[in-house]
């Protein structure tokens, strides 16, 4: 591995984007170290998802740079960014609804080197096609097992209950072998039990796969139980950065959320 350990996994410098004069976010500097679980919090419309979209290449930043392990990624296509090691989930779940659970994960495995199989090899039914297909199936099952979804593997993704759909989306993202996993409100719509379970699962996958996680969440309990550090955004700008308790003690954060104390 030529990844310099000292290099942060993700670094954004002066990141900003504007849509027709409206600054969705600006001057965002975030540095995330390896194996960190990092939270992005802030009120609605603070630009959290916009930052995700910038990192994954859906929007092109108007200002600033994004570095993944020291490599600049802000001019690359979404696919290339994914190949470089960024995977994500979506706020409003985007599964491949007409495919089974296991096939959803197998799509995630699509670009892994060990499952390489050219178009011609597949179309003409070379032995490798079968080998790869079988190996992918096994690998997908393995990933599903982590999320407790193995039993559901032959169900259509759209028939899963909400919580499981969220988990499946994480599983699919994980299948792409990311260095950095972006989770957009992973606990939304889950009940307290499921949420607690999810906290454990996220920690587990961080350790198992040695990955760094950046997540957006509204549930402060969830964030404080999980995140090493957080950044609070408001109106597209960084309000505060630090551990959860540091941030919550920051007067500017308190002001933004609770309002000014007029005694």
């Amino acid at each position: 591995m030529n990844n310099n350990v000292s290099l942060p996994v993700l670094e954004t410098k002066n990141l900003g984007v504007s849509f027709g004069g409206l600054k969705a976010c600006s001057e965002v500097d975030i540095t995330i170290n390896k194996k960190e679980i990092y939270g992005l919090i802030g009120p609605n419309g603070a630009g959290k998802t916009t930052i995700f979209n910038l990192i994954t290449g859906i929007y092109a930043p108007t200002t600033g740079e994004i570095y993944l392990c020291g490599e600049k990624i802000n001019k690359l296509s979404q696919e290339t960014i994914c190949h470089k090691g960024v995977a994500r989930t979506f706020q409003n779940i985007r599964l491949f609804n007409n495919m089974t659970v296991i096939r959803n994960v197998m799509v995630g495995l699509h670009n892994r080197k060990e499952f390489k199989c050219s178009f011609i090899e597949s179309a003409l039914r070379f032995p490798r096609q079968f080998k790869v297909e079988k190996a992918m199936r096994e690998k997908a099952k393995e990933i599903l097992r982590i999320f407790g979804l193995e039993e559901e593997r032959n169900n259509l993704a759209c028939n899963l209950p909400y919580g499981m759909q969220r988990k499946l989306e994480i599983a699919r993202a994980l299948a792409t072998e990311p260095k950095l996993l972006l989770l957009d409100e992973p606990a939304a719509g889950m009940n307290p039990n499921e949420t607690m379970e999810l906290v454990e699962t996220i920690k587990k996958i961080r350790d198992m796969f040695d990955i760094t996680i950046l997540l957006i969440e509204h549930d402060l309990k969830f964030v404080s139980g999980l995140c090493d550090r957080v950044t609070v955004l408001n109106f597209g700008k960084v309000l505060s950065t630090g551990t959860v308790s540091e941030v919550l003690n920051d007067p500017s954060v308190i002001e933004a959320y609770i309002g000014k104390d007029d005694e």
Binding site: F19, N53, I58, F90
Partner: protein, 291 residues
Amino acid sequence: MIDIINTFINGLSLGGIYAMIALGYTMVYGIAKMLNFAHGDIIMVGGYTLFVAIGLFGNPILAIVVAIILCGVLGVLMEKLAYKPLRGASPLAVLITAIGVSYLLQSLSQIIFGAGTKYVNMPNWGSITLGSLRIQVYTLVTLIASVVIMVALSVFIKYSKTGRAMIAVSEDRAASELMGINVNTIITITFLIGAMLAAVASTFYLLKAPSISPTFGSMPGIKAFTAAVIGGIGSIPGAMIGGILLGVIEVFTNSIPAIAPYTDAIEFTILIIILLVRPTGLLGKKRREKV
């Protein structure tokens, strides 16, 4: 020079016809969020209605009124029977249904009237001369009528209650429903207006070339759709600009013998180029899909 002016006026009048048809496409697309492929065939039905009605009554004005009413009814029926059940289904399903309806209308008219060309006995108004410029009266009538209709439609949409409700539905159907707008009624009205405009367009088309066949509507339909797309589908001024632009281009390429046979190919190539450069057309709104 006189030739060029003459060609230009002809182009404008053809463009006016295209614009009228394109308005139907664009309004339906904007409000019902579907591409009504059968819109061109409403023109054809309008044409056959004129053919029958002029034969029956001998009075062209009465025939035109009958055609407009009949087309309006057809438009509404089409919407109620074929498209309404599919509201909320995938766009592909709706599109295929629209294609089926178009095909159905064409085949039915072929059974009723035969595949051959029928001559419609439209009034001939002759031409007027302005200096050395000779203009056909129907060209002027078409031009004036299309301008009047477009202005009237714009005013209707901007200032009437129904028109504003149409804008609201095209912006956000769910929200307008919550605000108490009867979305179904609005969509029906849209189809009604579109179909009636198609009947009017059909009349002007027949004034220009009074012969009709079951596929009479497809070419003007596709051309007008092209016009709507060029102008930016969903946009009413876009449909007008696109229609006029396409009409002028068509008449000009037709007037040059070397490229005249390729007129259709040229128009469609322009369509493809415009879509590649500006996927939402000239005046279309760019919609960013929320991620």
